[in-house]
Amino acid sequence: MTLSLSLTVNGDRHEVHLEDARPTLLDVLRERLGLVGTKKGCDRGQCGACTVLVDGRRINSCLTLAMSVDGAEITTIEGVARNGAMHPVQAAFIDNDAFQCGYCTPGQIMSAIGLIAEGEAGGDPERIREGMSGNLCRCAAYPGITEAVRDATERLSQNQRKSA
């Protein structure tokens, strides 16, 4: 029996047909839609490399069966730069050297975007560290990650003030 679902990923609508209900959102993104920017680090929700936004909320896509997000709006790392301009979080990751090997980076950035949207951490480094601790970085570029999130939070709030 084929199962069908519809996903809107980075603004593009995809009709996905699955042979059964087993594929996770992560595997559907990577293996069927070819969106390989989202990474698999552990496949059990312990490392955060697969973090994407579902309806604006950060989730581990490896712990999410694709069928369970039928109809959802999904944002992946491929969808955060707009009109060729980097998202402020992406720019802050480069400026603050917030990565080494880059494998956890898409998840870190999606998580940071989610965290900033949650509005819980603000510019407090301790809260940022806590809020980003679901995303492992084995290279341990943590000092840069914290600084990048703080920096991006500031850039985004300045942008908001400007546009307000």
């Binding site: 042979e19 059964d20 087993r22 594929p23 595997d27 990577r30 293996e31 070819g34 390989v36 920017g37 989202t38 990474k39 698999k40 680090g41 552990c42 496949d43 059990r44 312990q46 490392c47 490399a49 992946t76 790392i77 491929e78 730069a81 980097m86 992406q90 720019a91 990751f93 480069i94 400026d95 050297d97 990565f99 080494q100 090997c101 880059g102 494998y103 956890c104 980076t105 898409p106 950035i109 480094p125 301790e126 940022i128 560290r129 806590e130 980003m132 601790s133 679901g134 995303n135 492992l136 970085c137 084995r138 290279c139 341990a140 570029a141 943590y142 000092p143 840069g144 990650i145 914290t146």
Partner: protein, 750 residues
């Protein structure tokens, strides 16, 4: 005869690119998800392979339900020892000093839990996973041997990669007799698993007898030739692509069984096959840091000087191969002592074979040595930093050779200043923070050798003034694509923005090994030499051309800088590269270079990066929970090509030290031999919140002997020193000396 350009053979002055804290050249790719890792490749017709693992640690597989796996929809092939086609090389043969025995279904035997025992190939990942599960293996079980006390102990002929297992310098007995204070310290360190965030992955595709591999690899040329050897094809038939490695830490330098099995699956099915390890599979056939049991015996005289260092390390290895963590060698080169005696034994246990893992030997050995030094300082009634300075080695303790450079004293001063070490009370349990937590400060010295490998590079200057440099260098997070490009641009005397840098493929000149903290030194010197070679050719053209302002510059020499050749004796006389090539009617000039240690310097000097780490811990006085509130390191590592990247390597290493001290521990069930914590919920690595304040400072060092560019290495040294500093800070906070890593709460509760 052409007058050739002379380049200095000794110390090389780099151009304007090296030394700059440039942001990463691959930054945009990495923050947009466009950097391609092996598992991201999806060639047309791709099949997915999943291997089934042994649930026992010793014995043999007696049954696999191949029929059930084959019957599962989507399953294309099941490979077991019964139908596995022959390989051109025996997986149990060690072809060279850098090859490990691997498991490639050569028989039904099991030598550790997690060993591949069958491979299922299917149209989808889900079908392959389910097929592997359906194999439901049955076994003939032999008892597992886990831990130092259950395995066979032996005297190894070598430790690490080809290192001597024992050293005797001076007379230990005399040293002990001369001592006023004796310190005996026992330290145990557990197994560590690399756990790069990118699991091992490979995509293999055959086109006739040509093989294309997408596989993260730290030693591209060696791996290419080994893969070719297993499949009986010439090395040039194998194209190995490794543009980005999602963390290596040593485990991606060694060829492993699952890789060979994936290539085999691709040949059997005549389709491209992808095999990606699950996280739990990272605790088996892909290496780890062996566990150690170490004993240090130190003697200290009335003046606070070491009279003897004895260091014995017993390291675990597998039942069938011999890599031993050379932990005791950490005592060879750091502290002056008239007598140094180091010794290794090995113990065979039923795990996969260990291999190099970030600072192999240095990390475990430094942890024990720095704890022992702290106890010795306490026995001598000295501040632990003062004690280390009192035992400062002016020449290499093991060999007596002078150091090629050593700014450790400056590191001690700079680190102590940045940390605020002055005024630290000698006795433990003296400091509290405003929340009532016990506060402790500790210190550890850092040391890491500066090996070099062999590398080749090709440099091209094009008619439009841009450059191209090619080398199979490896970007694994250390920033090779950035730092090596900076050196390459200086070699060609152009701005780095005008340089195209190609790396990460076996089709390029051999970049050597990205390991041993020697990649920037080795590849960097090859790259610079290639650029100099190209500039030499360009200078030949210019100095022989009467139309050039450089005509006849001859022995006065020519300097390549800023896209122009300048006369060395009169820099106002210069000409752009483009003009020289244009007049000569050439579309490019090309140069070649190699990088390796000068054998004479290797004979004459001891070469190490040095440093120091200071730690502050806060310990809950009732729960004894430990938090590392501050880590401050100061390091001297020769010429720093890019301080931004170097600091990230150093702080990353220090946080690895934090993980070693407080978190990381591979636990195998002593009854079954199975890893009990084969995931990130059980195998703890530091998270962001564990490392609130980690800083690394760079101390300048000008090294004329380590290599022409004066580059040492920064990739591994950060772990050394950090582990001991944290343990010593824990003692300073609590008064408890720890004898086992990671430091558990129960070790502190008294």
């Amino acid at each position: 005869m052409a007058e050739t350009l002379e380049f200095p053979t000794g110390h090389v002055r780099l151009g304007s690119n090296a030394g700059q804290p440039l942001t990463r050249r691959d930054g945009m790719l990495k923050v947009t998800g466009a950097a391609t890792y092996a598992a991201d490749n999806r060639p047309a017709g791709l099949l997915h392979a999943v291997y089934a693992v042994s649930a026992i640690a010793r014995g043999r597989v007696t049954f696999l339900d191949v029929a059930a796996a084959k019957a599962h929809p989507g399953v294309v092939e099941v490979i077991t020892p019964a139908n596995r086609p022959p390989l051109a090389r025996n997986p149990d043969e060690k072809a060279h000093g850098f090859s490990w025995r691997i498991e490639a279904l050569q028989n039904d035997g099991v030598r550790y839990a997690g060993q591949p025992i069958a491979v299922v190939v299917a149209e989808t990942l889900e079908a392959a996973n389910e097929g592997a599960r359906l194999l439901a293996p049955r076994y003939e079980v032999e008892p597992a041997r886990i831990g130092h006390d259950r395995g066979e102990v032996f005297d190894p002929p070598v430790v690490g990669v080809g290192a001597e297992p024992n050293l005797t310098k001076g007379d230990a007995e005399v040293g002990h007799r001369a001592a006023a204070h004796h310190v005996d310290v026992d330290i145990e360190t557990p197994l560590h698993y690399h756990n790069a965030l990118e699991p091992h992955a490979i995509v293999a595709e055959w086109h006739g007898d040509r093989l294309t591999l997408d596989v993260p690899n730290q030693a591209i040329a060696i791996a290419r030739s080994d893969f070719a050897g297993f499949f009986g094809v010439p090395a040039e038939n194998v194209e190995l692509r490794s543009p980005f490695i999602g963390g290596g830490f040593g485990s991606k330098a060694i060829l492993n069984g699952p890789q060979v099995l994936c290539i085999l699956a691709a040949r059997m099915t005549n389709r491209p096959v992808k095999l990606v390890l699950r996280r739990d599979q990272m605790f088996g056939p892909v290496g780890h840091r062996g566990g150690t049991r170490q004993r240090l015996s130190l003697g200290v005289d009335e003046g606070g000087h070491l009279t003897v260092i004895e260091h014995h390390a017993q390291s675990t290895t597998s039942s069938f191969d011999d890599f031993l963590e050379p932990a005791a060698n950490a005592s060879h080169n750091l502290y002056a002592s008239p007598a140094i005696l180091t010794r290794h034994t090995g113990v065979r246990i039923d795990t996969g074979t260990p291999g190099p893992m970030r600072a192999p030997g240095e990390a475990s050995g430094s942890a024990a040595l720095e704890c022992a030094m702290d106890e010795a300082a306490e026995a001598a009634g000295l501040d632990p930093l003062e004690f280390r300075m009192r035992n400062y080695a002016e020449t290499d303790p093991a060999t007596g050779r002078p150091f090629s450079s050593k700014a450790l004293r400056q590191c001690y001063a700079e680190g102590a200043k940045q940390f605020g070490w002055a005024g630290r009370p000698l006795a433990p349990r003296q400091m509290r923070d405003e929340a009532g937590h016990l506060v402790g400060w500790g210190v550890g010295s850092s040391l890491f050798p500066n090996p070099m490998f062999q590398a080749e590079a090709r440099a091209v200057l094009r008619a439009d003034g841009t450059g191209l440099v090619e080398i199979s260098a490896v970007e694994m997070g250390q920033g090779a694509l950035t730092a090596l490009a900076q050196i390459a641009a200086d070699g060609l005397g152009i701005d780095v923005d005008k340089l195209e840098f190609r790396a990460g493929s076996s089709e390029l000149p051999d970049g050597g090994i990205a390991g041993g903290s020697g990649h920037t030194a080795t590849a960097g010197n090859a790259i610079f030499a290639a650029g100099s070679d190209a500039m030499g050719r360009l200078a030949d053209i210019a100095t022989q051309d009467p139309a050039s302002p450089l005509f006849g510059a001859g022995n006065a020499g020519v300097v390549a800088r800023g896209g122009r050749l300048h006369r060395a004796d009169d820099e106002s006389r210069s000409e752009p590269y483009t003009a020289i090539l244009d007049r000569a009617g050439l579309d490019h000039v090309e140069g070649h270079g190699s990088g390796a240690r000068n054998p004479a310097d290797a004979e004459d000097y001891a070469m190490f990066s040095h440093g120091v780490v200071f730690a502050e811990v806060k310990v809950d006085p009732e729960l004894y929970q430990v938090r590392v509130s501050r880590l401050v390191g100061a390091f001297a590592a020769g010429r720093i090509i890019n301080p931004r990247l170097a600091k990230s390597q150093l702080t990353g290493g220090m946080i690895w030290g934090l993980g070693f001290a407080l978190h990381e521990e591979g636990v195998h069930d002593p009854r079954t031999g199975r890893p009990m914590n084969a995931d990130f919920a059980g195998y703890h690595v530091p998270v962001n919140a564990d490392a609130p304040s980690v800083e690394a400072f760079l101390v300048e060092e000008d090294d004329r002997h380590v290599n022409a560019l004066g580059i040492k290495g920064v990739g591994e040294i950060g772990i050394t020193g950090s582990v001991g500093a944290i343990a010593n800070a824990v003692w300073h906070a609590t008064g408890v000396r720890v004898h086992r890593f990671p430091i558990h709460i129960e070790a502190l509760l008294r």
